[in-house]
Amino acid sequence: MTETLDSYSLIAVYSAMAVYALAFILFTLDLARRSAEVTRRQDAAALEQAAAGGTNAGVTATATLAPPTAAATTPAPKYLNAAVALVVIGWLLHLSGDVLRGIAAARVPWGNMYEFGLTSTLIIVTVFLVAQLWQDLRFLGAYVTGFVVLALGVATVNFYVAIVPLPDALSRSPYWLVIHVMVAILGVGFFALGAALSVAQLLRLRRAAGGLARARYLDTIPSADRLETFAYAINVIAFVLWTFTLVAGAIWANDAWGRPWGWDTKEVWTFIIWVLYAGYIHARATRGWRGARSAWLAIIGFAAVVFNFSIVNVFFKGLHSYSGL
């Protein structure tokens, strides 16, 4: 029974990966389309200028380039909508894979590293999809689907383990397992999206400074200022979730290991991530640290999150040895 359900779960996860990969291709095509559109508009503007007798057409056209609003008002092509639809289908498959794994194991599906990877990528896609209700974040689709396909690939190939009962430390604290780990997973989901926005912000800044001449699609995404504001909102939510993770972990550790905080390797990295994002929040109130510098802090913070999940889990010795590998 357990094995059967688990194999169904794996099939669902593999299918979700295939569907996400298709969505990734369509999102990438969309970015190419955005670049082409910017070029076309530039050409049109240049022609107009030339017709009006302008001698310095090219330069003027670039300078008077229409604001991003223009791009958004043109209807999104069918394949962008198809890409979002594919993400929804992939998400449903992903969700059923995750739930089946939980049913097969008769517990929450985040008892080891494979399951944590499965659920945290599910949350990343969920946050991405739900955020669409407020904001058009489809320009992040390529990043989100690409990241999730890669992460699921690593999880299924390198981290997969058969279902075994949890050690006492986990199974005897079902509430803490739900609270501490679920909140950590949510935090990771938000951090991932915040980092994506910060990357977009940096790319936008680079292009504004004259770099990335060929990445014309960057003209169609929101301004660096708006990206920064949204990244901050997302990262602040993630920071609060991470604070909960840290505190819930300390309370649990006080019951399980006899101390609230013992500088276990995982605790060290949870602390490092918390301090990095605390630095990020302070940077936004510090003269000279807004913009690119705080964006870099957010990206370094997320790099630490990924490091904490992958390298620390697999290679570092510590009490959080629940990877099952």
């Binding site: 075994v164 006492d168 909102a233 399980a256 905080w261 630095g279 003269r287």
Partner: protein, 574 residues
């Protein structure tokens, strides 16, 4: 548009000018202080001037930020190098495997990163910086709480979300309606006359700064609670075998780590007896068949003045006795070996801890018999709860339960090193260091001794006999932990979380409403706002307030959509 909100750091002179005057109080990152000090800019700089300069540097936001980043960086080695507190065996192994590198790391304090001078220096500086930042802000905030909202700016159109609505009524009614609405929304209000007309100045979200201060003060509290708990409390470990008891005195511990201010009189007088240790074994899941779980240590707890009581200690289920927390850390088997001399007199008979090496509880243990036999005898044993002989002929344990128990012993003789008063590890037989001779085992002519429960074998050279008693008890490794500051720690952590939530999510806003008479004689209400920090919803909020009083009598709520079509909570929509 976004830059207009970045009032504390934005380079725009216009933005800075208006926020300096009108923005709600929040932390303002001061301009870079210079050692020449203050606005006077004089070249003279005495000792006090320098101190003030250093203090300002230390308490600036930029220094705090750099200290935070340094703290994150300084914690990294603590995860790369084994730490004495969390992984003492790892540190010992490091010293053995690479003594030269270990000596360097030791000199740098890397084996105890989190109590090293450089790590302490960073966090202490950070906390001094924090205190230097919190005190003036608290004073400033107290003043703001006592003060009226500031006067209305002359030119509201330069503020955020400026909007003008017609009002069907006279100016006094209009302003009264605006004031009532603002009050009902939690704003503090004050009336100010301006050249263009009577106005209401309103401010809300003082809680934001309160939360901010609470968060930072609570962090100081956390640090103090940890420091007090660490210097007064204690942690100690003890192995208890089924049927034996532990009394809470310092000599009763196998290992004991007191804080600097700890005295033995602080030990709570109680004793614990391990009556029975129970384990379940997985039977359904074939992928984990036989794995041990659901450990339960049934204890009898005796406190002075109380009847002895029974309780169960589990993993994750600590017991609390007289404020001392008791944890179950590990378990295993303690076979009882009885050694007799050739005359049949018992020279040794007690349970011996065998440390589990794998999931099937293959365990290893050492027995030292210094007296009573012709020579000092050391025994190195392997215990197999379910012994199975593998293809290679070697034994292994296939199940953690006592299905086919087997004890094998290698026998050594020589000076066990127990007589000269030096401390030795009870769990290790230092064969090479002590120059012991193997009488039975892999490197001796005589094979290792094999014992099943209830069996006896002869020791080599006619030294005597060894008997494995039929009942094999289990042991529980328990840890006692006393930290009198823990309730304080918990309280400060909760306060910090509450403060953080409030500081991050309560918006601090000022809103102004001014009644004015248009050229055609119609009454208009003019609205605008200003916020500190990120507040993308402000234009919508101002519009919603304006809508709510655009019709007289409708004091609250509005069917009209907000004037701004933006609608986005963070204003990202292109």
């Amino acid at each position: 548009m976004a830059s207009s909100r970045h009032s504390d750091a934005g380079p725009g002179a216009d933005t800075d000018a208006r926020s300096a005057e009108y923005a709600p109080l929040d932390h303002v990152d001061a301009a870079e202080p210079s050692p020449t000090g203050g606005a006077s800019g004089g070249p003279r700089l005495g000792g006090i001037g320098w101190l003030r300069f250093i203090w300002r540097q230390l308490t600036s936001m930029r220094t705090a930020l750099i200290l935070l980043l340094l703290l994150a960086l300084a914690a990294v080695p603590g995860s790369l190098v084994p730490q004495t507190t969390s992984d003492p065996n790892g540190v010992i192994a490091y010293h053995q495997n690479d003594p030269e590198l270990a000596a360097v790391l030791d000199a740098l304090g890397l084996f105890s990163t989190f109590s090293s001078p450089w790590f302490s220096a960073i966090y202490l500086l950070l906390f001094i910086s924090l205190i230097g930042c919190v005190i003036p802000r608290a004073i400033q905030h107290a003043r703001a709480l006592a003060a009226r909202p500031p006067r209305t700016p002359a030119r509201l159109e330069r503020m955020i979300g400026h909007t003008v609505r017609a009002f069907d009524g006279d100016a006094t009614t209009a302003l009264a309606a605006a004031e009532r609405l603002l009050r009902s929304r939690g704003y503090r209000v004050a009336r100010y006359p301006t050249r263009a007309g009577e106005s209401v100045s309103a401010e809300r979200g003082y809680l934001r700064e309160t939360g901010n201060l609470l968060f930072h003060v609570s962090l100081i509290g956390v640090l103090i609670a940890v420091a007090i708990g660490g210097s007064v409390g204690y942690t100690g470990q003890r192995v208890v075998t089924e049927g034996t008891a532990f009394t809470n005195v310092q000599s009763g511990y196998d290992s004991f780590y007191p804080g600097r201010l700890f005295t033995e009189s602080m030990l709570a007088p109680f004793s614990l007896r391990l009556d029975e240790f129970l384990v379940d074994f997985e039977e359904n899941n074939l992928a984990a068949y036989g794995s041990a779980h659901n450990f339960r240590a049934h204890m009898t707890i005796t406190e002075p003045g109380h009847e002895p009581r029974d309780d169960t200690l589990t993993v994750n289920g600590p017991l609390t006795v007289d404020d001392v927390r008791i944890y179950l850390l590990g378990n295993g088997y303690s076979p009882v070996l009885t050694i007799r001399n050739p005359d049949g007199d018992i020279v040794f008979s007690q349970p011996t801890l065998f440390r589990p090496l794998d999931a099937a509880y293959l365990s290893t243990g050492v027995i030292k018999v210094p007296d009573g036999l012709a020579e000092q005898v050391g025994l190195e044993g392997l215990f197999y709860p379910t012994a199975v002989r593998g293809d290679s002929g070697a034994f292994f344990s296939s199940h953690p339960d006592l299905i086919n128990p087997l004890l094998t012993l290698e026998v050594y003789t020589g000076d066990l090193g127990l007589d000269d008063g030096r401390a030795t590890n009870a769990y290790v037989l230092d064969v090479e260091g002590l120059g012991l001779t193997q009488l039975a085992g892999r490197e001796a002519p005589v094979e290792s001794l094999y014992l099943k429960p209830g069996e006896a074998v002869d020791l080599p050279n006619g030294l005597g006999t060894a008997t494995l008693e039929p009942v094999i008890p289990r042991f529980a490794a328990i840890e006692m932990h006393w930290d009198p500051a823990q309730p304080w720690l918990f309280g400060f952590v909760l306060a910090a979380i509450a403060g953080l939530l409030v500081a991050l999510f309560v918006p601090r806003r000022r809103v102004w409403a001014r009644a004015r008479i248009a050229e055609d004689g119609a009454v208009q209400l003019e609205w605008a706002g200003l916020a500190k920090g990120e507040d993308a919803r402000l234009p919508d909020s101002v519009a919603a307030l304006a809508d709510a009083v655009s019709v007289p009598g409708s004091g609250s709520g509005s069917a009209d959509p907000p004037g701004s079509s933006d609608g986005a909570d963070v204003g990202l929509a292109p």
